[in-house]
């Protein structure tokens, strides 16, 4: 049997580990997982090699193992656990540059898959309801992962021009959400009381990690060159999401949002960068029809189901909406019930209690 070597970066993080584990279960693949830190999560039968994509050693690894497919998941989306925004930028931008340079000179690599994010579209009040792949941000993401991802995508475009023989797929993933997701947004949503921009109710679109793995498998297993949006089809609003999670929302006036987010970052409570704040203020949704048409991909989890999966793995919130809603409904019901016979209904069945 011909064994294909496949290199995955960023296996010490959730998505990388999950994807490596899933691929390594197949016999025809030799899965090499690369990261600077040993994997925190189970990577199954994948081989872990400690390597830093920011230095040239990655090129020797590629040629030494005869890697055919490179899956780049080694970018970080949050500065909190990384050591600051400067370090995050270095890992994302310098790391990608080095990895792409290695791919360009490699003779064995013929397919490249790069993770990107819905954050490249930014979020603003001038946005269309759904972004298609050809659209660009109406308001450029000012900071954070969205901005890094734009730079990453421009490097990838450059490589695709210089090496037209490579099959390059870029997946713009919606926010990952599922049981035990540890993203910055997940951290924000699981605060005991969630400060939310006052007077706004953003549309959120999620992608369950298992669907993300399926999508990555589709583009690693066959040639699907191009840039694709990947996410669940439906949306849920921020207030709905908080109700599902049982988290009370506290409205924050617009002027106080930035200082509060800064305080949250300093104290390590929540890592909401400016681009993420925009996303939970104005909302963002991607059109995912191109990926569905190219690969036949249908997410198993809707946005709501992904969030419910996340909620199931979370400590229940203080504000148990169903219970509180029951209380409110009871009060209204009891106020209304005596009123009904007076209104002329007069049916005895109404007064059960």
């Amino acid at each position: 049997m011909v064994v294909t070597a496949i290199l995955i970066t960023g296996v010490s993080r959730q998505l990388g580990a999950r994807f490596a584990r899933s691929l390594a279960a197949r016999d025809d693949l030799d899965v090499i997982g690369v990261d600077v830190l040993p994997p925190k999560y189970d990577i199954g039968r994948a081989r872990y090699i400690r390597a830093d994509i920011r230095n040239a050693a990655i090129g020797r690894l590629l040629s030494g193992s005869g890697v055919e497919t490179v899956v780049h998941l080694g970018m970080v989306s949050s500065a909190a656990g990384t050591g600051g925004t400067a370090m995050m930028k270095e890992i994302n931008v310098i790391g990608t540059m080095q990895l792409l340079a290695a791919c360009q000179t490699s003779t064995s690599v013929r397919r490249l898959v790069v993770r990107s994010t819905a954050g490249v579209y930014g979020a603003s009040p001038r946005d269309p309801a759904r972004f298609t792949e050809e659209m660009t941000a109406r308001a450029e993401p000012r900071s954070g992962f969205g901005r890094d991802a734009r730079e990453i995508e421009s490097f990838v475009d450059g490589l695709a021009r210089r090496r037209p023989d490579l099959v390059v797929s870029v997946l713009r993933l919606a926010e990952l959400m599922g049981a035990h997701t540890d993203s910055a947004l997940a951290g924000y949503l699981s605060l005991p009381v969630v400060p939310a921009p006052m007077g706004y109710d953003a549309r959120l679109q999620f992608l369950h990690p298992s669907d993300a793995v399926t999508a990555l498998e589709l583009v690693t297993g066959a040639d699907h060159p191009g840039t694709f949006n990947v996410g669940a089809a439906d949306v849920i609003t921020l207030r709905q999401a908080l109700a599902v999670l049982g988290r009370p929302a506290v409205g924050v006036p617009e002027r106080l949002v930035a200082p509060m987010a800064a305080a949250g970052r300093r104290t390590g409570t929540a890592d909401m960068s400016a681009d993420r704040i925009d996303a939970v203020t104005y909302g963002r949704c991607m059109d995912t029809s191109r990926f569905a048409a190219a690969t036949g991909f249908t997410p198993q989890y809707s946005t709501r189901a992904a969030l419910e999966d996340f909620a199931a793995g979370l400590r229940p919130g203080r504000f148990q909406a169903p219970r509180l809603a029951q209380l409110a409904a009871g009060v209204i019901g009891s106020a209304l019930r005596p009123a009904r016979p007076a209104a002329g209904a007069g049916s005895a069945g109404d007064r059960r209690d």
Binding site: P125, P128, A129, R130, G199, Y200, V235, G283, P322, A325
Partner: protein
Amino acid sequence: MIWMDDHRDDHEPGKDQPGQDQPAKDQPGQDRPGRDQPGQDQPGRDQPGRDHDQERPTEFARLLTELGGAAQRFVAGLRELPVEELRTLGDDPLREVISLGSRLGVDWSGTADELSEFVRRRMSGDYAVDEFGFDPEFTTTIVLPALRRLARIWFRVEVQGAENIPADGAALLVSNHAGGLPIDALVLQSVIYDEIERHSRTLGADLVFATPYAGDFARKIGVTLACQEDAERLLGNGELVTVFPEGFKGLGKLYTERYKLQRFGRGGFVSAAARARVPIVPISIIGSEEIYPQIAHLPGLARILGVPYLPVTPLFPLLGVLGMIPLPSKWIIRFGEQIATDELPEGAADDPMVVFNVTDQVRETIQQTLYALLGERRGIFG
């Protein structure tokens, strides 16, 4: 299909075609402000019968006189208030709120259990919004009943040509826009729902979505950003899409400019309709101009506040928030005959000449209908 009661027998649909626009020319008390264009001012014709002692009443004097009459009727109505009910209001406030709600049109036709279930669903986030943020349950249960009351009781809206609203399939509804605040958009949405039980989806300016609460509310009732992408997506989904091509130019015009259509942008709405091959329905609304008669603008203050215009009306900012209550003008909404776009040549959507021609056609239709309807209306607060 005309469901407004008071003037129902006064005119047939079709009677008010352009060129036939003076059905009640010599009726006393009639008001034709739209005809007061500079250069063709004919004060003699504009004299309402009851104002014979004044030589040339200005437009505002006439407006205020009519307003005075309306206020008198309102005070007379106040005397009939059920005072007893007001006295018992304190006994059971919650029940009063509910009964008040039902009087305002929040129609709890269901049982208490259904209401409890509704509250539970809303509070636990157990309802669906679409990709545009449209929340049909909220719109149908909370917003439309209130708007229905506003349209029927406050503005006494009379609907003409409802048979021209497509009962199924996509269409682009194009309307004039006036009144300082986009109340005409809300009333129109309510009227369309009452006629054909379809939610029309309005396209709004980006400023709406940059404004806290306004943008959120707009998305919940089905408004989305006025851009080519969203217009085409909605039309592609088979929706009724409402546009107000005048935008802020129409909303923020002075009272002296009323019923004069402003520029219709670059005709982007025609391109969208032509690309989707859907009909265009021209809509003429009268009454919306008089809800906040804008005497002047405060451009400096508007710039400081970051709004496109800040009007001075007879009551605002004089009375503050109270001055923001719209005057109860008499409204007529006329849906014109559909203008087909599927017969346009291939590539018409990108041909500026074709687009401008159709834009002009739509604009002219609405303008002529506005003049015709003004002749038909008996008075501003009729």
